[in-house]
Symmetry: C2
Subunit: 489 residues, 2 copies
């Protein structure tokens, strides 16, 4: 069932109004990372709440109490409330839960914005709508408001093809404190999200600037610190150089053994546990609209690990990667320090794909690091530990939610979407997969393009992505009943 | 010719007065590294100047103009003057140039001093004289004043066994700015140091707390930075991990290839150019009063590269060492940053022994680093360069100045001195060796013990080291004529 022509026309007719509303949303300096802006974040949540009520949605603001610091201490700063919404309760319809976030990254003109005020949406002749949050994530969130506007104004909510649930938080850029518990609770019997069939998240981007994408996977992550220590205090390299085992020498040997220059990971049973792609899967990668030049442009240098786009994309999407981030305790400034540091801590992380979980990876990593260290022949002491971890996620794209999303993308954009997996991690996707009890019911449906600059200066969303993206979100809902019915047969 | 008994008795009789004068010297907060104390440094130089005049020495204060910053810009702060001194002009006598410095490291009670005021010399029952500069270098400098006091008061300067020249600077702890030019100039015809036969520097320490030492060598140093860069900006490790060559991976591989865990240096023609010790030289190392326990105590852990004291001491004294100091541009704090840094710079230095000069080492190092980098198979860019360098120095201990110092040490301390080489660098020794035109005429004659804590809290000199050390300096002068005469034959 395609979307009614009236809906598509309504969106086109109201495009300028929708952009005006996006401009209003962008004007809230809802920077969650800066406590000085906490009231702006709260105001943004309240604005969203009233917007939802304005289009007939039943809402609730869930208070989360005060923010806590890393040690769990009350910081005396209130967290912004989570905005819950719901409409429809027809047991014959699928229930779709929509997630988005209302907070943004910091932004200041002095960071290098070419507009006068990052919090004033500027509309350029080339169709770019420039402003903080335009694409991450106010544009997509407002896309849903636009869809609801049609149903409220033109359709009087007569025939929403699905039941809708909403979860809009405002601490996403700062760790989503408190969200997991809310989601878990609301999924339980009696909760607002109880009975949810699938979850749709629009908080990532196309692979490029040309072709719409649907995202069915995310890499997990495990972050490690490996500490080597020896002397009781820093030593003078003149007095003790070549007398003692130097912690830095040992640590550098360990770090050097963690990853190869070609990106492969010598830690046993990391790379080898990842099953090679089937022929069909490999074909899917060939279809993706991506070139080596796309990579060169996005990183500003020709430093790709391969000249084959399929290998490049598989490296990001379906292989683990290990990056060395730095060293604590060693000299890190421009000074020519000649000290032998007493205690140094290497920091590295591994991006994970199934079947590698953080626990599984940690077992391999710590055993391997211990093995490498034991074979160094040093008298220093070593400790390697995981600091933080998040599961990888991959969905089966034959799920009806994906079938509906694909049909909607083809209907709106007249293009076959790139089926992508992200190399990064979006923890909230895992939160929902966990609450839902399966990975396949979670869908990432990006609205913006690969060059939107989500966390950078001059963040933008293209007018066409905002408007056609709105159509995409609505059409996706209309496509669900048929796709779900087909899945049953 | 041993020192006259009258001299030794004079020193014993005046010991308390000498300590009183040391106390006065310590009270000057002559911290050269802190411009706020510059007037104290200048006052200290003036005090020394008048002390020298008070014992009949002809002196001159050489002004050095304003201090310059690293870029050569005038800092608007006057440098303290260099105090020149001279006495004796007998062409039948040897001319001995004495160097010392009047400035000190910073010190504050809050750093952890156990005395109330680091600049008030505290005299403890165990004989320790605790205060900033007590051993580095006011104690030794005042040792010379004590010697001159005897000649002035008791001997009326009748029979100094040598001609003496003095060079007391007050910027040693901050790079000795301007000193090189003064030394060079004064060594020229008509200068105060013209005709100098040997140079004596008391600015280092015994190998331990038990046995006096004479030092005949210093390691040189060459400091390097190696930079690897690739992307135009820092990258997200989720988006680009295993897509691009990461500068950190390449840099860590290079750093890992620079030094082995056992301290040996895999760079070709560094270790192998250093000639192995002769049997006689190896015997000298066996005689040194040092144990593995001494090392363990000084570093606070059992992390020695060997259980053989000879290997340990040779590692410090007659082998090159390479230490990895840190990385610029990478994450260096406790944060769990997941960035791929765009440009990282590894810092390392090599301590050099003959025949390795900084230039020679740099040739080997840069060639090797280029070779290692070329074989990595990365598309990133690399640059390796020397930032700073200083020559190594080794003297022949059969020189008459060493013969005299050894005889004096045995006469005063009743012990055979440890003949040591320092693992660190004392640039001023090279300045004098260069001005003198030979290495052998420079002598390091330490006054303090290995546990004096020169740059630490609770810096001290032992009363016995100050008093017997004064006798040592005087006796050294008396031993010179005979040693020099024997050398002629």
């Amino acid at each position: 069932m395609p979307a009614p022509k009236e809906f598509l026309d309504f969106v086109d007719k109201n495009a300028d109004k929708f952009i005006q509303r996006l401009s209003e949303a962008v004007s809230y300096q809802s920077v969650s990372g800066n406590p000085d802006h906490r009231q702006d974040v709260i105001n943004m949540s309240k604005w969203m709440n009233s917007q939802l009520r304005g289009v007939g949605i039943d809402t609730q603001l869930v208070e989360l109490g005060n923010q806590k610091d890393q040690d769990g201490n009350d910081m005396g700063i209130p967290l912004p409330p989570v905005v819950l919404g719901r409409i429809g309760n027809d047991t014959n319809k699928k229930t779709v839960l929509v997630y988005g976030h209302l907070d943004v990254q910091p932004a200041a003109k002095s960071d290098g914005w070419s507009t006068d005020d990052p919090f004033k949406l500027e509309i350029f002749d080339n169709g770019q709508l420039v402003g903080r949050g335009a694409t991450d994530d106010k544009g997509p969130v407002l896309g849903w408001l636009n869809v609801l506007q049609y149903h409220y104004e033109a359709n009087k909510l007569g025939d929403l093809p699905v039941n809708l649930r909403f979860c809009f938080e405002a601490m996403e850029e700062s760790g989503s404190q408190g969200l997991d518990n809310v989601v878990k609770k609301e999924f339980q019997s009696g909760g607002w999200f109880h009975g949810t069939d699938c979850v749709s998240i629009s908080d990532n981007y196309w692979l490029n600037t040309r072709t719409p994408a649907i995202t069915y996977g995310l890499r997990g992550i495990a972050y490690y610190k490996v500490t080597v220590e020896g002397p009781a205090k820093d030593l003078h390299s003149g007095m003790f150089g070549r007398m003692v085992h130097e912690p830095m020498t040992d640590l550098i040997k360990i770090m050097s053994a963690l990853v190869n220059v070609d990106g492969s990971i010598p830690v046993p049973l990391i790379d080898s546990l990842v099953p090679p792609p089937t022929e069909q899967e490999a074909d899917e990668y060939k279809k993706l609209d991506y070139t080596v030049q796309d990579l060169d442009e996005s990183v500003g240098a020709s430093i790709g690990l391969s000249d084959d786009k399929v290998k490049l994309l598989m490296g990001r999407m379906r292989e683990c990667s290990l990056s060395l981030h730095g060293i604590e305790g060693a000299s890190s400034g421009p000074e020519t320090a000649t000290v032998i540091p007493a205690k140094v801590t290497g920091k590295f992380s591994i991006r994970l794909v199934p079947p590698l979980t953080p626990d599984e990876a940690t077992k391999r990593i710590t055993e391997y690091v211990q093995y490498v260290f034991d074979n160094l022949g040093t008298k220093n002491k070593m400790n390697c530990r995981m600091i933080d971890g998040g599961l990888p996620w991959v969905a089966n794209t034959s799920h009806w939610s994906y079938v509906a999303a694909k049909a909607a993308t083809e209907a709106v954009w007249k293009k076959t979407p790139d089926m992508t997996r992200e190399g990064g991690s979006i923890p909230v996707a895992l939160t929902f997969a966990d609450a839902l009890g399966n990975n396949d019911g979670v869908l990432l449906l990006p609205m913006g393009r690969g060059d939107d600059g989500a966390h950078s200066t001059n963040e933008k969303i293209d007018r066409s992505n905002f408007i056609e993206g709105t159509k995409l979100l609505g059409t996706y809902l209309y496509e669900i009943p048929a796709a779900a019915a087909a899945a049953k047969n």
